[in-house]
Structures are given as structure tokens and as C-alpha cells.
């Protein structure tokens, strides 16, 4: 994918009139998808970059591993990349070859993130994705508010990255090397919070602006790849013991899942609701990780990318495409042999399961509602015949992958799972769909107070942090003035006297 992206950039620079750049990009993505499918024959598949030197300081080189656990993410990302390129032809604002190159680049980085075999590799890829997103977003930000949000979002994700490095320190202090296979249980809490922070779940905040100018296509790619790269960490976390910390994290996750589900259910359209979809589905993945169910975390994460990808990429109206979207609801239902069938394994208290089930129901209902919404999208029938042939393929690829993953290809395939939870979520989702137009209290206008209440809560946290920052700033300024002012030399003399007397005492 990197190679094809490079080819597209070179072609753009040397032969801007070249007519087959889209074709080259799409064929490149198709080859990537086929190669990813072929990985199945050789799982587990490992690859390492050259060892960092001096080797006695760096125990682990950057390395990659595809196994039965992370395969769904790998196939989801390559499938999404191809789908984005195939569906781009039908959009009015059909992007340039640079956007296609960017899509391939993101796909490659996403693939590297989900196959990272140790935390060192993961932090490197996380930062690459964060920087790529920062540059792309800033390039399209037109207002000071938008730029500010992009910087805050970047800073929050960096905090998540640093938390992963702190987990590394904790691991090393226990004399354990920090690899995904040997992480001590003590690091679990840091890893879950690191992932949650990057996803906007722990604590609940909106890392992405819903009014971003990057909408379908590249915007979807950016959002979903970024989410998948953070979610993959959950697949490697050692099971946490029952503790107060775990319970607090669970409560925060439930709040985030209900908030995300509710906002998604009431979003005015699917692109506006996209950040809430990511928060809601990520919360379910995090709760699986907290329940000691890494398969479930992978299942919810893959469903986030695959089903979300389908919905967010669709920009035209067509009966069969709408049907395929409804079929995709099965993948997130947790019913037997669905992609998320393993989602409800693991030990969680019943009350918590019920609350999470409500969140899942809302997410499913929101998905169906957005599918059935009578939109203003262009009809596929009005497009040229070659687009009519290619466009649906992009959507059906994602549907095929999610259905196939329910039956084969990874450790969570062919699972019966928790039938009761699957049926419960489905009934709840259908019930909500039936109720929504009938009960006024569930209408969109009622969600605004909730949104503003949530943002007020988040704002008050930011305000508190800002006040703390200002107070600390005043203290440092006071010390700086002392040392840099006219009396600074006297303070230095005092310091030297103190230093000498301390050393003398030590010597005695």
C-alpha cells in the first residue's frame, strides 16, 4: 500500500494528466486485500525490523505479528481501504489522486498498528497516525475553534501514548520485558486507560469534531483507522482482577457507552453521529477487555470498522445497498455465528451487562435508523454504468468480510456466544426503532440538553485543569523572577552555601 501510494504521488508530480491513477490505486488496494487473505495460510506470520542498537539497551526490535486474534482487524482495514477507493467514484466531490494516496498510506499505517507485536512498535505507529491526522486536519481547518479542537485532540491522544510508555516503565520495574505476551497484570489499568483516552471513552470526551470538513471517504478512513489502531491494544491486555479500579473503569465505560449510544441514536445524520458511533462501539470493546475477554474486544472493534465503514461510505441511494446495510446489523447483534458472537463472553455483573446491552441496542437502532432515513442522496441509477457496477462492489466487500468473519478466519469465529444477550439486544433495537417516531420524548430535540450537559461537564474539567495550570505558572514565574532578577546572584550564593553545608553534613 505504501508503494502504490508513492507511485500515485510520483504520478501526480510528473504526469498530472495521467488518467489511470484511480485504477492503479484500486488495483493496489485489491492486491493488498488478497495478500491479507493469503496470510490465512501461514498464520501466525511474524516480521521484525532491524534491531535498534545498542542491543543491550533495546531488548525488542520493532516487530509485527499476524495471528488468529488480530486477523479480523487486518482484513477489516484492507477491506475498508479498497471500499473507500471503489466508492469514491460516485461522490460529487471526487477527491484527487493525493487523497487516494493518503487513503492507501492510512491503510498501510493502520495495518502496521494492528499487527504491531510489541508496545514499542505500537507507539511508533500511533504517533505516525496522529501526526498524519494532525497535518490533514489542520490543512482543512478554517476556523480558530476547529484548529483548537484539533490540537486538543492531538494532545489527548499523545497523553494516551505516554500512558502506554508509563506502562512500559511499570513492566520494566517488575523485571519483565514489555511485550504483548509478557505484560504483567499491573499494567492492564494503564493500557485500558491509554486506549480509552485515545478513543474518547476514558474519560468521556469528544476527541474528534463532528463538524469536520473531512466527511466521507478519506474522513471515514481517518476516523476508523485511528480507532482500530487504539482498539487493537485491548486485544493484548492481561485479564484484570476484580478490584475497585476495575469497577470505576467499568462505570466510566458504561456512562460512555450509554452516552455514545443515545447520541448516535438521535444524530441528525450518520456523519454527524460518527464520533458517537466510535465512542459507543469502543466502549463495548473496552468493557470486553475489562471482563477479560480479548476476543470480544476484537469482535466489537472489527464491527466498528466494518459496519461503520459501510454506513459512512454510502453516498448514493439504492435498494440493494440499503438491504445490505440492514444485513450488516447482524454483524453487530452478538447473535450466534455473527462477528460479535464472542462479544458477551467474560465475567461481568448482571446489572452492568444489562446497561451495556441497552447501549448495544441503541447503537443497533441508530444504525438501522440511519439506514432507513429517507435521505437526499443521489440515486445510483442516475450514474454512469461503470460506476453502477463498481460502487456496490465496494460496499459488498465490507458486508462479505463481516459475515465471513462470523464463520472462519480467526479465533473468535464460529462462536455461539450468549444467545440471550444477542436476542435481547436485537429486540431492544427493534423496539427502539418502533418507539422512536411514536414517542416524542425520544426525539432529537431532547438530546440537546444531554449533549450540552456532557460538554459542560467536560468543559468544567478543562477549566479546572486550566486554573491549575495558571496557578502553577504563577509559582514558576515567581521563582524565575527571583533567580533572574537583580537579586538572583544572592540567591545563587545562598544556594551554594546550603549545598556546601549539606555536603559537609553528609561527609561527617
Amino acid at each position: 500500500m505504501f508503494f502504490v501510494a508513492l507511485v500515485l504521488v510520483i504520478l501526480r508530480g510528473t504526469r498530472p494528466e495521467f488518467r489511470f491513477t484511480w485504477l492503479i490505486g484500486s488495483v493496489g488496494a485489491l492486491i493488498a486485500l488478497l495478500i491479507t487473505l493469503l496470510w490465512q495460510t501461514q498464520l501466525p506470520l511474524a516480521y521484525s525490523l532491524p534491531q535498534w542498537e545498542p542491543s543491550k539497551l533495546f531488548a525488542e526490535p520493532p516487530a509485527f505479528l499476524v495471528d488468529g486474534l488480530v486477523f479480523p482487524y487486518a482484513i477489516a482495514i484492507t477491506g475498508l481501504t479498497l471500499a473507500v477507493l471503489l466508492t469514491t467514484v460516485a461522490r460529487e466531490d471526487a477527491p484527487s489522486s493525493l487523497a487516494w494516496a493518503g487513503t492507501l498510506l492510512l491503510g498501510g499505517l493502520g495495518l502496521m498498528a494492528v499487527t504491531a507485536n510489541n508496545p514499542l512498535t505500537l507507539v511508533l505507529v500511533w504517533c505516525a497516525l496522529d501526526i498524519a491526522e494532525l497535518i490533514t486536519q489542520l490543512g482543512s481547518a478554517n476556523t480558530p475553534k476547529a484548529s483548537e479542537r484539533i490540537v486538543i485532540s492531538f494532545g489527548t491522544r499523545l497523553a494516551g501514548t505516554y500512558l502506554l510508555l508509563w506502562a512500559n516503565a511499570v513492566s520494566v520495574s517488575k523485571s519483565t520485558s514489555f511485550t504483548f505476551t509478557s505484560m504483567p497484570v499491573e499494567t492492564s489499568v494503564y493500557l485500558i486507560v491509554a486506549s480509552g483516552l485515545r478513543l474518547g471513552v476514558l474519560p468521556l470526551h469528544l476527541p474528534y469534531s463532528s463538524d469536520s470538513s473531512l466527511r466521507r471517504g478519506f474522513g471515514t478512513m481517518l476516523r476508523l483507522i485511528s480507532a482500530a489502531s487504539s482498539l487493537v491494544l485491548l486485544a493484548h491486555i492481561p485479564a484484570m482482577q476484580e478490584s475497585m479500579t476495575r469497577n470505576i473503569l467499568l462505570i466510566m465505560t458504561i456512562i460512555a457507552s450509554l452516552f455514545g449510544g443515545w447520541m448516535w441514536l438521535n444524530a441528525s445524520d450518520e456523519l454527524t453521529g460518527r464520533p458517537f458511533w466510535i465512542i459507543g462501539m469502543s466502549s463495548l470493546a473496552i468493557s470486553s477487555a475489562l471482563a477479560g475477554n480479548p476476543l470480544g474486544a476484537v469482535a466489537w472493534g472489527s464491527a466498528l470498522v466494518l459496519t461503520g465503514g459501510m454506513l459512512f461510505l454510502i453516498s448514493v441511494q439504492h435498494k440493494n445497498i440499503n438491504r445490505s446495510l440492514l444485513a450488516a446489523t447482524f454483524a453487530m447483534s452478538a447473535l450466534p455465528f455473527s462477528l460479535t458472537a464472542s462479544g458477551w463472553q467474560g465475567s461481568l455483573p448482571v446489572v452492568i451487562k444489562i446497561l451495556l446491552l441497552v447501549a448495544q441496542g441503541m447503537l443497533m437502532a441508530g444504525f438501522i435508523k440511519n439506514t432507513l432515513r429517507p435521505g437526499t442522496k443521489t440515486s445510483l441509477e442516475s450514474m454512469p454504468s461503470w460506476i453502477r457496477s463498481i460502487y456496490p462492489v465496494g460496499i459488498f466487500i465490507l458486508l462479505t468480510i463481516q459475515i465471513a468473519l462470523g464463520f472462519l478466519g480467526w479465533d473468535g469465529a464460529l462462536q455461539i456466544g450468549s444467545i440471550g444477550m444477542g436476542i435481547g439486544a436485537s429486540i431492544l433495537a427493534l423496539g427502539l426503532i418502533w418507539l422512536l417516531p411514536r414517542i416524542q420524548t425520544l426525539s432529537l430535540t431532547r438530546t440537546r440538553p444531554l449533549q450540552s450537559a456532557a460538554s459542560t461537564g467536560i468543559d468544567s474539567i478543562y477549566r479546572f485543569l486550566w486554573t491549575l495550570y495558571l496557578q502553577l505558572g504563577k509559582i514558576t514565574q515567581f521563582i524565575t523572577n527571583l533567580l533572574e532578577g537583580e537579586s538572583g546572584m544572592i540567591w545563587v550564593a545562598l544556594f551554594i552555601t546550603l549545598f556546601i553545608s549539606l555536603l559537609q553534613q553528609e561527609a561527617k
Binding site: L57, L124, P144, A169, G488, I500
Partner: protein, 466 residues
């Protein structure tokens, strides 16, 4: 021919002569080429080994006597000289692009040569004198008739000058300690003098107040050059002390002093950086953190941590060079480097702003950038001995991270409707582009390019890092 004459006295003389050349371009080219040539010779020509060139036999001897003092440069020092003169050459060539060639091309070369002399001189306590001369030579670089010396310059000279008597005294006392190692009172006095001398020399908390002051009142490019060269060579000087005296190397008290000083510098430098509203001052605090990291590495396990100290050298040079180069360009355009002046600068000077931001992130240890691998090594080494100390290191780096994010916010948040434009010149774009690529490359492949040079550096010491 001998090595000290080539790497110490030739550049001093060349620098002196170039001071009389009025044409900036000629002066920069000669100075830069001299430094580059010295780096290449250090890399390719062996010292103390006969070299056959056809019928001619040539040998570069390692020592030279001057006024009864020896200057010794052995083959073990060659790689360090390659790094030092190579980076100096890049710095001098860069000075032409930012318009600071006049001051750096002649004096910069002499400044570096004097710092090399401080490592080569025997008895080593004379190093204090050569460092002092280097500091005095730096004054015309930092101040001029148009830009008279301010409080920062004066403090710089005072603090560096105060280091000299303490180091001279310690050298005198250390000779006594060598003669009678059981004399604890003498040992303690020697250690005290040495600690104070090094505290002034390395600008240990709170003796670094000259750095942010100087950052505000002088050219960022010249200041960056001093910030890179002086602490790098003095760190090697400290390692030389430890290597020479086994009692010092094995003294838990001395290593503890280094360790605590390192932590203090990292924490105060990082936290102070987080609250600055002048970009040049942030660079000064980042440099304080860098020196703190070196001390922390030395104090951690003196016999094993030299690798980390050497790993810090090139990323430090690269990030300060990129940082000061970018700041110079921005100062030229905006007049000063306060946050209020820099608002939205990224829209007009995207690459220069990226240079400032990425260099700041590199200093904060952002993964993917050059500063990350050595910080990761130190981070893990520290975690093995104490998670508490690791927390303080993390806090210092977090402070730098906040300063980088604030700078990013200041540079990108601007009024509505201002388009992105590249206002940098082609030369500036090329230099900045290359340095940014190198920042990333060294962060992803730290073992490539420079590792062969760095891996040979522990050879400079007999006991450390062996």
C-alpha cells in the same frame, strides 16, 4: 604533523584569520569547508599509524607539547572529533542561510577548537583554562556593537568563569587524593570543589538562570550553537573525570549528586518550559533538560550508562540545530519570539514552524523523532532501579510536551480565512526539509547512519563503557 596541531591549532588560526575576511560568503565557505575537512580527516586518517601514499610515508602523531603542557589526541578520540567538526560544519553552512555567518564562521571554529583542546590537554585541570578562553571567545558571537551584552551574557561569563577556580582547586586536591586515598577530609574537599566547578560549568539548578536570559537577548542561532557545543563537551569532560579516578567512579555520594542534579534539571527545566511564553526561552529550558538527562544517565550506572550519554549527543545537536535555525528565521520575520507575535505563524512559515514544533517534540521524547530512542533507553534503565525516579523523568518530559503542544496551538490557531503559504526561501526549505527528515529517520532507525560513529565513542575512556 601531529593531531593536536591539526584539530586544535589549525582551526584556531583559521578562525583568527577569517575574522579579517569581510566577505561573508567566502568566510562561511572557508570556515565550513575547514570544519568538514577536519571531520573527514578524523574519520579516514588513522592517528599514530604510518600511512603509505605511493612512495610517501605519512604519520599523524598523537601528542604535542606547548609551554610544558601536553595535548594528546588518540585514535580513540577520532570519532568524537568527526561528530564535533561534522556538526560544526553543518552549523556554519546553515549560518549563511539565516544571515548569521559573520559571527559564527570565524569565532565558531575557534570556539570548537578550544573545546577540543579542553579534552586533549594534560594535565587535565588546564581544561578549565581552555574552556574559559572558549567562553570569552563566545562573547563577541553573542554580543555586538548593535546588540550590547545584556544580563544573560554577563551572567553566562560570570558563572562559567566561577567554574574555573573550583575546577583548578579540585585538580590540585585530586592530586593529593591520588597520593593518599585514605585521607577522607581531603577527598571530601576535592569532591566539594569538583561538584561546585561542574555545577557552574554544566549550569546545574539553580545556576542556569543565564540560559533563558541569554535566549531572549541574543540570536537564537548563535545561542543554539553554544547550547549544543558547550554542554556536549563538558559532559565528555565529566566522563573524563570519572574515568580517571576510580574512587570518584565508585563513590556513591558523587554519583548520587549527579543523579539528583539530573533529576532536578529535568523536572525544573521541563516544568518551567511548560509555562514559558517565549519560544527561545523554551529552547533554553529544553537544553537544560538535555543536560539533566546526561547527568541522570551518568549517575544511573557510571560503568554502563555511557552508551546512553553518547546516544544523546547527535539527537541533541540535530534538534537544537533545527530549533534554532527555525527560530532565527521566525525572529527575522516577526521581530520577537513571544507567543503573541507568533500567533498563526504556521500559516505563513509552515516549515519553519514545523521545525520549531518537531524539535520541541523531539526534546520531549515523542516517539518517531530522534530524541525518542535515547530517552526510551534511559526511561527503562531508570525504571529498573526506581519507578519513583522514572515518574520525575516523565514529569519533566511531560512539561516539555505541554510546551510543544502550546507552541503548536499558538502557531496554528489564527483568524478565519488566512490561507497556507510557503514564505521560506528555497535554501531554507531544503535545509529545514532535510533536518526534519533526519529527525524522523533517526527516530525510526537509530541504528542507521550514526551508530557506527557512536559505538566507537566508549573507546575514549579506559574504564567507562568498556
Amino acid at each position: 604533523m601531529n593531531a593536536p596541531l591539526l584539530w586544535i591549532f589549525t582551526p584556531i588560526i583559521a578562525g583568527g584569520l577569517l575574522a579579517f575576511v569581510n566577505n561573508n560568503r567566502i568566510s562561511t565557505n572557508i570556515s565550513g569547508l575547514t570544519a568538514a575537512l577536519l571531520a573527514l580527516i578524523a574519520f579516514f586518517i588513522p592517528i599514530d599509524k604510518a600511512l603509505l601514499l605511493g612512495a610517501f610515508s605519512f604519520k599523524l602523531s598523537s601528542s604535542m607539547q606547548l609551554f610544558g603542557r601536553n595535548f594528546i589526541i588518540t585514535s580513540n578520540d577520532a570519532h568524537f572529533l568527526t561528530i564535533l567538526y561534522g556538526i560544526t560544519a553543518l552549523w556554519i553552512f546553515g549560518s549563511a542561510v539565516v544571515g548569521k555567518a559573520r559571527r559564527l564562521s570565524s569565532l565558531g571554529l575557534s570556539f570548537i577548537a578550544l573545546l577540543v583542546a579542553s579534552i586533549a590537554v594534560e594535565p587535565f585541570l588546564y581544561a578549565a583554562l581552555t574552556i574559559e578562553i572558549a567562553v570569552l571567545i563566545a562573547i563577541p558571537m553573542l554580543a555586538s556593537t548593535n546588540n550590547p551584552p545584556g544580563r544573560g551574557t554577563i551572567r553566562f561569563v560570570i558563572f562559567q568563569t566561577l567554574a574555573m577556580p573550583f575546577i583548578l582547586f579540585s585538580g590540585w586536591l585530586l592530586a593529593g587524593v591520588e597520593a593518599s586515598p585514605s585521607d577522607l577530609a581531603l577527598t571530601s574537599q576535592a569532591m566539594l570543589m569538583l561538584s561546585l566547578g561542574l555545577a557552574f560549568l554544566l549550569a546545574i539548578f539553580p545556576l542556569y538562570s543565564w540560559m533563558p536570559l541569554l535566549a531572549e537577548e541574543t540570536s537564537p542561532y548563535i545561542f543554539g550553537f553554544i547550547l549544543w557545543a558547550l554542554p556536549t563537551v563538558t559532559t565528555i569532560f565529566v566522563l573524563g573525570f570519572l574515568d580517571r579516578y576510580s574512587w570518584l567512579r565508585n563513590s556513591t555520594q558523587f554519583t548520587e549528586i549527579l543523579y539528583i542534579s539530573g533529576i532536578l534539571m529535568v523536572v525544573t527545566g521541563g516544568l518551567w518550559a511548560a509555562f514559558q511564553s517565549n519560544l527561545a526561552r523554551i529552547m533554553a529550558y529544553a537544553s537544560i533538560v538535555e543536560t539533566g538527562l546526561s547527568l541522570l544517565a551518568i549517575g544511573l550506572i557510571p560503568n554502563q550508562s555511557t552508551n546512553i550519554v553518547f546516544m544523546l549527543i547527535i539527537p541533541r545537536a540535530l534538534s537544537i540545530a533545527t530549533w534554532s535555525f527555525s527560530l532565527s528565521m521566525l525572529k527575522e520575520k516577526y521581530g520577537d519570539l513571544t507567543h503573541s507575535s507568533m500567533q498563526g505563524s504556521a500559516r505563513n512559515f509552515p516549515l519553519a514552524s514545523a521545525g520549531v514544533i518537531l524539535a520541541n517534540f523531539s526534546a520531549a521524547g515523542l516517539p518517531l523523532l530522534a530524541g525518542f530512542p535515547p530517552r526510551l533507553a534511559l526511561w527503562e534503565g531508570l525504571a529498573q532501579s526506581s519507578l519513583f525516579s522514572t515518574f520525575w523523568l516523565g514529569l519533566g518530559l511531560f512539561g516539555l510536551m505541554i510546551s510543544a503542544i502550546r507552541t503548536l496551538a499558538i502557531m496554528v490557531i489564527t483568524e478565519e480565512g488566512i490561507p497556507w503559504k510557503w514564505r521560506e526561501s528555497l535554501n531554507q526549505l531544503i535545509l529545514l526539509g532535510l533536518s526534519i527528515i533526519l529527525l524522523f529517520f533517526m527516530g525510526i532507525f537509530p541504528q542507521a547512519i550514526f551508530y557506527p560513529l557512536l559505538s566507537a565513542l566508549p573507546g575514549m575512556f579506559i574504564h567507562l563503557g568498556q
